[in-house]
Symmetry: C2
Subunit: 610 residues, 2 copies
């Protein structure tokens, strides 16, 4: 019995060599070597979290999954999915920093794949007798009278957009069509070969993530991200609300810009899938689910935001909402509906509900916390089968704003600071020369500075530390000097930076503590501590505990689950039961308003210590 | 006991003098004198069919009804409503030709006033507790939870347009609002004092008629007419369908032009009513009903018309339809719905259904015919509780097209030709010098020419008649010579004109005969013969019988009912029961397609004789 050939893989920049069989995927190989490559989808090739880059050697052929995930440019650059490829020779493989996991990563995006498919829109194929001089029934009647035996709730009705094109649609397809039925409503008339597609979108304040799914198989056909174009009208939610209030048609402008970008994304994902899977068009997308924080939700749906920007900050709409795609100009099937799950409060939105759904926070007999860190951090606590939530103004410090050397998570950003052999060691995104610090880096840095005695618990620098220097009577810590930085400048951490992080992490900790206090429990009763969102995925949990952002818990209780809101959106796209569950969750949540929380000042002042 | 003062009224151009009491309206006075002034609304001042003009003397003060009906210009010109005014002195009163009735005028527009009011939209007044820091419910929830005891079908839902403005609406009105509820849907949030209004529109190929009604009282607050602006894109339905097919966005252009004109009409009627009745705005119009022939219906609603223009000429939609006002840009309450009753066939539209509803044609144990004469003439026959309908291509001859001296019904048009003392006598619109012949005039003229022996039964001129002359070997009849015409030209009836009318009236008679034949009955079994529409109101029934357009029946069986389609639209605006009845009527109708009717050629060739 001939044995499989074996090859040596040299993983960089980790610098580990392993010998593997030709039947092992690169993912298996890396995991076997103790290298934690991210694998959000569970290794089925539909996310790109395990992306690696081939530096030297030969890998197995490009799979369809990889073609769907990577752009042409990325493929030319040697990007591959570790879960999809097998070694065909000895290799040098580079693992980009974004593919390295945090301690324990819950495979949420994978989970949404194994839910029962129960979509809002289902197909019916019809062969309709054509109109003749002896059969003068109207086109609608002709459809109605052929659908009667299909097990659909009767009578059917037609969305107005469908009526606007019904006659050419029937004739162009020679009276052989596929109807997209949403309960008893015809939302699209398509050629018989058209697949029914769905779109799940997470509208973040900064970034958009879109997932194109097959509504029948549940498969994610493509995903794509984009910056939220509203960013140029204001970095945060409050400044966008101000824009809406102060500029004539401001709300409409913000909505239109968002929709335009989403339309480009839709065009992009359809083109991408069409390259491999044939005819995939935006008009085959017959249902969408969109999640976002309350302000993004309202701006997307065209709802008033004025009252979101002034006390007492109430949403216009908190129930789940179904809107017409063509009403807001989203270029999918014109008769398609867009489902938006409920909002909980002015600052706890539909994206948090989606996250709660995807993380299975409730119902549960366990005590669990789930949070999504951003400019605003939403936190939910499940205890004793009760669900309470709050929102904390954690500010933009974690996105690099208001930090002297701060930057977004981009190549050259210091994303990790560690103490190795008593020395501070930095790691940058793409292993580029350091040019600044992003959120996870500054968090690490402060934890390390505290650890090495450069900072005290109040956030004051100790002048005695060799890297602490005095500039204009203000102390700062030189993390990277100008000889070693990518831009010839010192990369420093200032007292002001420390203060910003103290305020940000203090706000989050106050939220956590207020929920614990409301539930009448202690922090160590938290059995699961779930951190969602992009930033949450990259932070170093021990650092976050060290500076008191999170309570000190055994590391294994933490889970970093990535874009759980997007995963929740996909679940709701594929399953009506999950929509119902999201509605239940939103009803279940008791909202705790921190600004009127009695013990707020006390908790907040305690939370500032690092 | 002092008797009321008495005054002498001299009615012109009729030339009758009567002595009346000061407590008699001018309408009563005229009727007492045997002058048939039209009184479509039954004398309650809400139509303007009894318009008269004061030439000399003094009348009672202008009523609100009159102010609503007349423009300032008309008021200055001395126009009044005969039913509303009383003499205050001896008078000279002019009765314009349009106020003179045909033999028997059914008071349909009046009838729609006495139906049970059962509108689609009803008001709920709410006082809502405002949002505070201790009551953070979303605006929608705040409305929902206050509505629960109002006897409305729960849960309520909100039209998307309402959601788009709900927050400012609630706050602008200090949380005291009137909701317009359409079943369980909130279609408008209005100030508490706002009346709920409705709009009924009859979209004719040539003319539009709109009625603004109070949905609570049923009162017609104002009515207005306008030309259908689509006329400049094609005089008839077929040419507009061609325009839609041949010009990019043609269908959308035709729709937009129509909507623009309707928006002006809406603005106009609201402004008109506001002058007297306070705050009346387009956004208080919370429901509309629109009727029209199938092509007008489709163009208004944005439905495909391509298939209406080619065999077998089927509608896209024949069921009743509810569309969103803001979707098509109709400037009424943005959340308002527009109800369009069913179409029967490609050439028997929702306006015919409305007419059947208003004339109570079915159900009935009587044998009745109802028709609406136009470029296309729709005819329905009720016999033995069955309803059958057909459509005849009667062409535009009755609108003056293809007739040498033809013109629309405008001042100077010969609208009546009679034989008095053996002499032909003409009557023109506004008693102006004659400049042409309109539909009713040409009909009369041919009947008279036949009567005086100038024409034979085939439509050929007898050269022996002194007024028949030969021009380029073609015979023609001089109706008015150039000395007596208003434009210095002879007004003649040519052989070609006679031929056009033969074809037009033949088409109508063929339709009538085909329906009678289908029902297996003879013409004299028709107990009621109802003629609707503007042209039908002005034709002289004996002339129509004389030339064989209508079967010969006792004159009292005929009724000329005016704009019955508009009256039906109003009934459906004010009563859901009438909508249901319209749907029943449409279902009940069996459509007879004349182009494939076996005996068509035979009937048609017989029908051409005059």
């Amino acid at each position: 019995m001939p044995s499989n050939p074996e090859f040596i893989i040299n993983f960089q920049p980790v610098g580990k060599r392993v010998t593997v069989s030709a039947t092992d995927t690169i993912l298996n190989a890396a995991q076997g070597a103790g290298i934690d490559i991210a694998s959000i989808c569970g290794g089925v090739g539909i996310c790109d979290s395990c992306r690696i880059r081939l530096v030297e050697g030969e890998l197995s052929e490009l799979t369809l999954e990889e073609q769907a995930v990577f752009s042409d440019k990325e493929i030319k650059s040697g990007f591959r999915l570790a879960c999809q490829v097998y070694p065909c020779s000895n290799l040098v493989v580079e693992i980009p920093p974004e593919s390295l996991t945090a301690p324990q990563r819950l495979q949420i995006e994978g989970q949404s794949q194994i839910i029962e498919i129960d979509p809002a829109v289902i197909p019916i194929e019809l062969n309709i007798p054509q109109a003749t001089i002896n059969d003068l029934r109207a086109d609608t009647i002709r459809v109605r009278e052929n659908i009667s035996n299909e097990g659909i709730e009767l009578p059917i009705n037609f969305s107005q957009s469908v009526l606007e094109n019904i006659s050419p649609q029937l004739r162009m397809n020679d009276w052989h069509v596929k109807l997209a039925m949403r309960r008893s409503a015809v939302v699209a008339i398509l050629p018989p070969h058209a697949p029914l597609l769905g779109l799940a979108v997470d509208v973040g304040t900064t970034k958009l993530a879109a997932y194109l799914c097959n509504l029948h198989s549940g498969q994610i056909l493509a995903k794509a991200g984009a910056m939220n174009p509203q960013t140029s009208f204001g970095e945060d939610v409050i400044s966008r609300i101000s824009y809406s209030n102060n500029v004539s048609d401001g709300r409409k402008i913000l909505q239109n810009r968002l929709i335009e970008t989403l339309n480009q994304v839709i065009q992009g994902v359809c083109a991408q899938v069409s390259q491999n899977n044939g005819d995939v068009r935006p008009e085959y997308i017959v249902e969408a689910v969109v999640v976002g924080n309350t302000a993004m939700h309202h701006l997307f749906a065209g709802l008033p935001v004025y009252q979101l920007g002034m006390a007492p900050y109430v949403p216009a709409v908190s129930e789940s909402l179904v809107i017409d795609a063509d009403r807001i100009g989203l270029n999918i099937a014109p008769g398609a509906k867009i489902f938006l799950p409920p909002n909980i409060a002015g600052y706890v939105g539909a994206d948090h509900v989606a996250m709660l759904l995807a993380t299975n926070l409730w119902p549960s007999s366990k005590t669990k916390i789930a949070l999504d860190i951003g400019t605003n951090t939403e936190i939910s606590l499940c205890h004793d089968d009760q669900l309470i939530a709050c929102s904390c103004a954690s500010g933009p410090a974690f996105e690099g704003a208001h930090i002297k050397a701060g930057m977004r998570a981009a190549p050259g950003a210091i994303e990790r600071v560690q103490i190795i052999d008593g020395e501070l060691r930095i790691q940058t995104i793409d292993i580029a020369a350091p040019i600044g610090i992003c959120g996870s880096g500054i968090l690490d840095a402060i934890a390390c500075l505290r650890h090495v005695g450069a900072l005290d618990h109040r956030g004051t620098f100790h002048s005695t530390h060799p890297s602490v220097r005095d500039v204009n009577n203000k102390k700062e810590f030189v993390l990277v000097d100008h000889f070693n930085s990518g831009n010839g400048q010192d990369i420093v951490v200032t007292r002001q930076d420390v203060n910003e992080i103290q305020l940000a992490k203090g706000a989050i900790r106050t939220g956590i503590d207020a929920l614990l206090e409301t539930a009448g429990i202690e922090a160590d009763e938290i059995e699961e501590f779930i951190i969602a969102g992009a930033f949450g995925t990259y932070i170093n949990i021990p650092s976050a505990m060290a500076i008191g952002m999170f309570p000190s818990l055994p590391i294994e209780r933490f889970q970093q689950v990535g874009n759980a809101a997007g995963a929740g959106a996909r679940q709701m796209l594929l399953s009506l039961k999950h929509r119902a569950k999201a509605e239940e969750i939103a009803k279940q949540v008791s909202y705790v308003e921190l600004s009127t929380y009695p013990n707020f000042s006390n908790l907040f002042s305690k939370s500032l210590f690092i």
